[in-house]
């Protein structure tokens, strides 16, 4: 059966002859024979495409949680938003999909311009003049924001609100082991960060706050700005970009850096990746910007052209002194986001955000009426996600609701840590359910969901 290799027997013979070799094996003469794999790899032999597809389909059948089967109320940074066929068709064009990083701008104007437009859109959304061409995901964008903050101030202390997504804080902590940043977690109360709890912390280079935070709550960013002013620390806002469509922008609140997860703009749930790390900052920090940046310029004929720029920051030139080690990023998702935002436009973007807020309010109100169910974050305003305290473990509720056709949300203890630590907090987390409601959810779905939850928690 053919594979993807075009070499005919004659090709191989002719090429080997040209090289003066007798066999393909001799190509590997440099490899010490003692190291060579004897008897072939311990992998099955290749199977034809249709069989591969059939296997993938059967695995896919094993995913009960498909959004086309369970109505999705899960969020926590990954949202079931509308992606129209037109966006898939455009972002899926093979020129965008099968290109490399635009090292040769003359034949990469298409991708470069799309990223330039993406940068402009992110810059406008976050209210900051500089936005890069993407990072891996929201988590990695937070890491880079902290690195920038510490690098810019020379102070390694970082205040991190506990409202930042638990996974992202975990990633921050992992990488801080290398960079040596001193992360100080700032606790929440009723869904808002208690900055006063860390009033004594000194030597702070950056303050990180999420807006809205992972419990869906709006934080007081004016307070964060003055905290930063007082300490000459950089203010880094982890912004939900859909919320940013109706909330005051990070830039407007005075943020130096704004980061976020861009999955909501045209990328499927995809079991968590590839997603899209958004990164924007003020002009002052452009030379510390991680990742790639596209700029406008002219060609030899004076014609407008685009090119990756300020390359001197990057590791291929700067090596161990680079501002970041990011090389391959998530350009295709950035192009996708540009297409999706182009499709939404000014009114559609606002409309999606407004509809999310409406649907969330509708759902939250209905749920608060259920016996034994109460909001976890008191009366703090939430945007498109909220946390409930259930009378039963949230995991149990999720399990039961799956049988009724709903992915009910994310059990907080699953998000916070795999096992919990047996404390009272852990017990609270076990009963916490995080529910997200996007513009795709209908009143009918929500009504049924509320009824099913009512039944499930009895």
């Amino acid at each position: 059966m053919p594979d993807y290799l075009p070499h005919t027997e004659e090709d191989i013979d002719e090429m080997l002859g040209f090289l003066g070799l007798a066999s393909l094996d001799e190509l590997f003469d440099a490899v010490p024979s003692a190291l060579r794999i004897a008897g072939g790899l311990g992998l099955p032999t290749g199977i034809p495409e249709p069989d591969v597809l059939a296997r993938a389909r059967s695995r896919a059948e094993g995913n009960g949680a498909r959004a086309d089967r369970l109505v999705c109320f899960a969020g926590a940074g990954a949202y079931d938003h509308e992606v129209p066929p037109v966006v898939k068709a455009l972002a899926g064009r093979s020129e965008f999909v099968t290109a490399y990083t635009p090292y040769q701008p003359e034949v990469a104007q298409g991708g470069l311009q799309a990223v330039f437009e993406f940068q402009t859109m992110v810059s406008r959304l976050f209210g900051l003049p500089i936005a890069n061409a993407s990072l891996y995901d929201g988590a990695s964008a937070v890491v880079e924001a902290v690195n920038l903050g510490v690098g810019a101030t020379g102070r390694s202390g970082v205040l991190v609100s506990a409202g930042v997504h638990p996974h992202w804080r975990a990633v921050l902590a992992t990488f801080a082991a290398g960079t040596g940043h001193r992360l100080v977690e700032v606790p929440l109360e009723d869904g808002q960060t208690r900055w006063d709890a860390v009033a004594d912390e000194a030597d702070i280079g950056a303050v990180v706050v999420a807006y809205p935070n992972y419990l869906g709550c709006l934080e007081d960013l004016a307070a964060v700005r003055s905290l930063c002013d007082g300490r000459e620390a950089l203010m880094a806002v982890v912004a939900d970009p859909v919320a940013s469509a109706v909330l005051r922008s990070p830039g407007d609140w005075g943020a130096d850096v704004a980061v976020g997860e861009g999955q909501a703009f045209g990328t499927a749930l995809s079991f968590g990746g590839p997603y899209l790390g958004l990164f924007a900052c003020s002009q002052a920090h452009v030379r510390r910007l991680p990742g790639r940046l596209v700029g406008e310029t002219l060609d030899a004929d004076g014609r407008l052209a685009y090119v990756t720029t300020l390359r001197a920051r990057e590791q291929d030139i700067r090596r161990e002194k680079a501002t970041s080690n990011v090389c391959t990023n998530q350009t295709l998702m950035a192009v996708t986001a540009a297409v999706q935002l182009g499709w939404l436009g000014t009114s559609g973007l606002a409309e999606v955000a407004t509809r999310c807020a409406r649907a969330t309010r509708y759902c939250k109100e209905a749920m608060s009426g259920l016996a034994g169910v109460e909001p976890l974050t008191g009366t703090t305003p939430t945007f498109r996600e909220f946390a409930l305290r259930l009378p039963v473990p949230a995991r149990t509720a999720v399990e039961r609701l799956a049988e009724d056709g709903f992915l009910a949300g994310i059990a907080l203890d699953q998000l916070v840590g795999e096992d919990g630590d047996g404390s009272a907090d852990a017990e609270a987390a076990r009963r916490g359910l995080l529910v997200a409601v996007t513009e795709r959810r209908t009143a009918h779905e929500i009504d049924r969901f509320v009824a099913a939850l009512d039944k499930a928690v009895r």
Partner: protein, 504 residues
Amino acid sequence: MTDRSAPGGRAASAPLVGRDSEPTIFELSRPGRASWQLPTTGIPETPLEDLVPDNHRRDAAVDMAEVSERDLVGHFTRLSHRQYSVDLGAYPLGSCTMKYNPKVCDAVAALPGLDSVHPGAPAALTQGWLATLVELEEALCELSGMAAATLQPAAGAAGELTGLLLMRAFDAARGEQRRRVIIPDSAHGTNPASVTLGGYEVTTVKSDERGCVDIDSLRDALDDDVAGMMLTNPNTLGLFEEDIVEIAASVHGVGGLMYYDGANLNAILGVVRPGDMGFDIVHLNLHKTFATPHGGGGPGAGPVAVAPHLTEFLPGPRPVRLDDPDGPSFGWQTPARSIGRVHGWHGNALVLARALAYIEVHGGDGLLRVAERAVLNANWIRTRLHGTFDVPFDRPCMHEVVFSAAALHRRTGASAHDVAKGLIEEGFHPPTVAFPLIVDDALMVEPTETESYETLVALADALERVAARAEGGQLSGSPRTTPVRRVDEARAARTLIPTFDARR
């Protein structure tokens, strides 16, 4: 030629009918136009004022482009016509492994049962995904000769940093705090950058006249402050480090770990395994070796596989097979001394699914053929162009070959960069230029296994013509046939215009 960037539905901005610029989407925009459509939900239309407190609400909507669906389609379709891609032609970028990616992998990644699954759904509802991840991990371990792997890192560089943090954790666990990591001077830029982020200092060792690690320099650099060494093999010159066993033994001898940068794994699939060469940590660039299209810059995936003594430090939670005959077959587990998460969820899952499909369709036998053909192609190009360009380290190469245009440059004033631009006019994407740094005027050609003999001949012919044009001093105006001509990179950095709003 004027720079007409007129709005309107002309295809003029597509190369098909000319070379006019495509306006930005913001220039095509007109207030009041739109293309979004959202589902009917029946949810009460509460005004935004009642949903978001005044002090949090923005005054005006974010100004985005406002276009009809028709103009959206025209715009991005025209942009796509201004973009080279593997699907259009050969893309012999050295170190990048721009092979053709079978479309069946795209089809797998687009299955609704894979791409519409929420990453936070419980394991019982995501058994298909867990199976995918576990099977991929097992295949990668077999290919690399390692014991276990994390699939979380989103790209090669993320894998490198993960690997360095594993080194740290390993050091810490044995109560040490080593400070240095050794890398060869030919290493890819991400290596030193990752070392720094991993909290280590870089010690660079020179390459010898054969283009390989200079064993003596290496020995000089080694002491018990060395946490490990990062190496690709074949190295970035496309040469196999023949002394690899000795190198590994030396590093191990001072208690250091060997890190394998897997960006060049394509050359040795099924031939030799990093584990057997003595490596302890291996990252793999799935977007190079395992045929995920590069997306114009990403996404990729950079799983990290490790030897048995490092598995307990791997990031978590990890997808694992479960033994319970009554329960689900797969679950999540966090290793005892895990360094923690390195990704917001489980890694670039759809990329991982593609890689598994790629491995399945090729099988163990097919992957060996991949390596053989890749190496055959590179050596053919090397031998064929031997007289046209210098080959600084002139011996059989693996999957890529580094030429130097230095002599040509001195003689004619045409640099590797100029050669690249000349090749564009010939219809090919140029090789990598200016990397690796240790070769002057480097032209790094990696044909990959999916290009045919005819394509190699055409590419070689084209490079010869370009060299001849260089001798005739005719390269400086190249390329002439592209949507834009040579781009002023210095100007872009000098007068930074990173957004449409920064345009004057």
